[in-house]
């Protein structure tokens, strides 16, 4: 309670800045001041907390990505590749 009230008194960065820092934290080491600003913002903001969870989740999902056949070569494109292969065999 006391902590929450204290936090309300502190200067908090806007969401645009917070999402920028949260994104950059995935690609570089933030400075101590940046980490503090981000932490403080996330303590006070549900929107950005959820945003951060989701972009982290997206990142984890993409690390596991294995291509399937969600997009397909046209039959013509396949034929073209097959005949290119025949030429070198």
């Amino acid at each position: 309670m006391i902590l929450n009230r204290l936090i309300e008194q502190l200067p908090i960065i806007p969401c645009q800045e917070a999402t920028r820092l949260a994104s950059e934290a995935m690609d570089r080491k933030l400075s101590l001041k940046e980490r503090w600003n981000l932490w403080l913002h996330l303590k006070a903001c549900d929107f950005c907390t959820q945003f951060v969870k989701q972009v982290h989740g997206l990142s984890q999902l993409l690390h596991q990505y294995q291509p399937q056949d969600e997009k397909q070569l046209s039959p013509a494109a396949k034929d073209k590749i097959k005949s290119a292969i025949k030429k070198i065999l």
Binding site: T19, R20, L58, Q68, Q72
Partner: protein
Amino acid sequence: MNNAQSPADQWVDLYGDALFSYALKFIPQTDVAQNLVQETFLAALQNRAGFKGNSSEKTWLIGILKNKITDHLRLKYRETPASQLVEDNIHVEDFFDNADFGHLKKKPGNWEFNPSALVENKEFWGHYNDCLEKLPEKTAQAFSLREIDAMDSKEVCKVLSITSTNLWVLLHRARLQLRQCLETNWFEDDTQ
């Protein structure tokens, strides 16, 4: 005439679409993506000995394709004038309210990326592709190199000929836009 499929034909039928799907995550032009898939098959056939059998054939082919993609991008951006480096048709401020805290205009929904449910869901990846296609080309490339290929930030900068600051700007935009697009087109779409 012999109509039986040669082993090479079967290879194209077996792995062609997966390679093409992978290439499209980095290369939006279908003709260029197709050429890279073709080059991958040719390089693989000429270097069958390079296949050690300690990974799957598909993984081996994807490895070759990855190199083709990064070589292609390196060459492409080596020749791009510096003034065109950062695309600015996504405006970060458009995602936020002007008032108070400047919250995201729409509160992120109560959903999560559940890898076990999504990683093999072809329909999801189709939607993912549609969302990725809406990003400016270089923004999408920065994002895919960093997240799918898990390339080091410095290396991504080299491939795309951009500074670290440029890269961070592109990735912030990509995450804002992709998250929002997937929320609208997948997580909140009742037809799923």
